[in-house]
Symmetry: C2
DNA sequence: ACATATTAGTTGCTTTTGTAACTAACAAGG
DNA sequence: CCTTGTTAGTTACAAAAGCAACTAATATGT
C-alpha cells in the first residue's frame, strides 16, 4: 500500500466535520429541545434576537446563513409557542420586526448560559492554542 | 457589556462545526451527486467497501457511526443502480456480504481520488500544524 | 427440545429539510 | 399612472432522516 492509498474516511475533512458537528449538535440539542420544545433553527432565531436585539427574518437569514424557508417556519413555530412576536414595519409593510416576549427572553437567558457552559465543556479538552486554531480553521472553512 | 456577554454564535462550537460541515459537504456533494446520483450515505457505503473490502451492512454502521436504516436504504439504492451486490452468508443467513460491482469499483476509484483532491484543497488553506491540530480536535470531539 | 432473548436487516409512519413557485409590498423608468 | 423588476416572506410538494415496530435467523438457558 503506497502512501497515497493511506487515505481514510477519518482523514477526510467533510466526514470529520460532519461527525464532530453531529456529536455536539446532538448533545446540545437536549437543552433547547427537551426544555423548550425548540428545533435548531428556532434556537438560532432566539439566539439572534436575544443577543443582537430585534431584527427582521431576512437579517437573521443573512447573519446566520440560514435559508429563509427554515427561518420562516422557525418564526411561525416560535410565535405559536409565545417566545417571539412580530410587528409589521409601517414604513415598509413587507418587513416585520421580530422580538422576544418575556418568556422568550427567559428562555434565551437560560439557553445562552447553557451554550456558554457547553462550549466551555468541549473547549476544556483542548489547550488554549488548540482552541484558537480549531476555531480559526472552522471559521475560515465556514466563511468560504 | 461584560466579558462574559461577548459570547457570539460564531464562538459557539456546535454552530461553527455545523457551518463548516455544511460548506464542505455541500461542495463535495456535487461529485457523487451529479456524477453518480448518489446520496451521502451511499457514498459512505461505497467508500467503505472500496477502501476496506467486502463487509456487511452492520459493519458499515459500526465503522461509520451511521444508523442502520440509513445504511439499509443506501444499500437498496446502490443495488438498484448496480454499484453493489449482496450475497447471503450461508453460515449465518441473517448476514449479507456487500461488495462492489465493476461499475461500483470504478465509481469508488473516481470518488476516492476526488475526495483526496478536495481534502487537499481545503487543507491547503492551513499550515501543517494547523491541519494536524484541526484534525486531532475534530477526531477527539467526534470520538466522544 | 423449547421458550426467550438477540441480532441483521427492512418497512411504515412521522418529522424535518430542500426547492420552487407564489403573494404582497414596494421601487423605478418611461 | 402603469408596466417591469425586486424584495420579504409564505406555502405546497418532494426528498430525506429519525424512530419504532416488524420479520427472519440464530443463540442461550433450562
Amino acid at each position: 500500500m503506497t502512501e497515497k492509498d493511506a487515505f481514510d474516511l477519518k482523514d477526510f475533512l467533510p466526514y470529520l466535520l460532519n461527525q464532530a458537528a453531529e456529536v455536539t449538535s446532538r448533545e446540545f440539542q437536549t437543552y433547547y429541545r427537551r426544555r423548550y420544545g425548540m428545533l435548531r433553527t428556532e434556537w438560532r432565531v432566539v439566539f439572534h434576537l436575544g443577543r443582537y436585539g430585534d431584527m427582521t427574518a431576512t437579517e437573521i437569514c443573512d447573519r446566520s446563513m440560514t435559508h429563509k424557508t427554515k427561518v420562516s417556519r422557525a418564526v411561525k413555530a416560535l410565535e405559536k409557542k409565545r417566545f417571539i412576536k412580530r410587528t409589521v414595519v409601517e414604513a415598509d409593510k413587507r418587513n416585520e420586526t421580530l422580538s422576544l416576549t418575556p418568556s422568550g427572553r427567559a428562555a434565551f437567558r437560560d439557553l445562552f448560559s447553557a451554550a456558554r457552559t457547553y462550549d466551555a465543556t468541549v473547549a476544556r479538552q483542548f489547550s488554549a492554542e488548540e482552541n484558537a486554531v480549531l476555531r480559526a480553521c472552522l471559521a475560515k472553512i465556514a466563511g468560504a
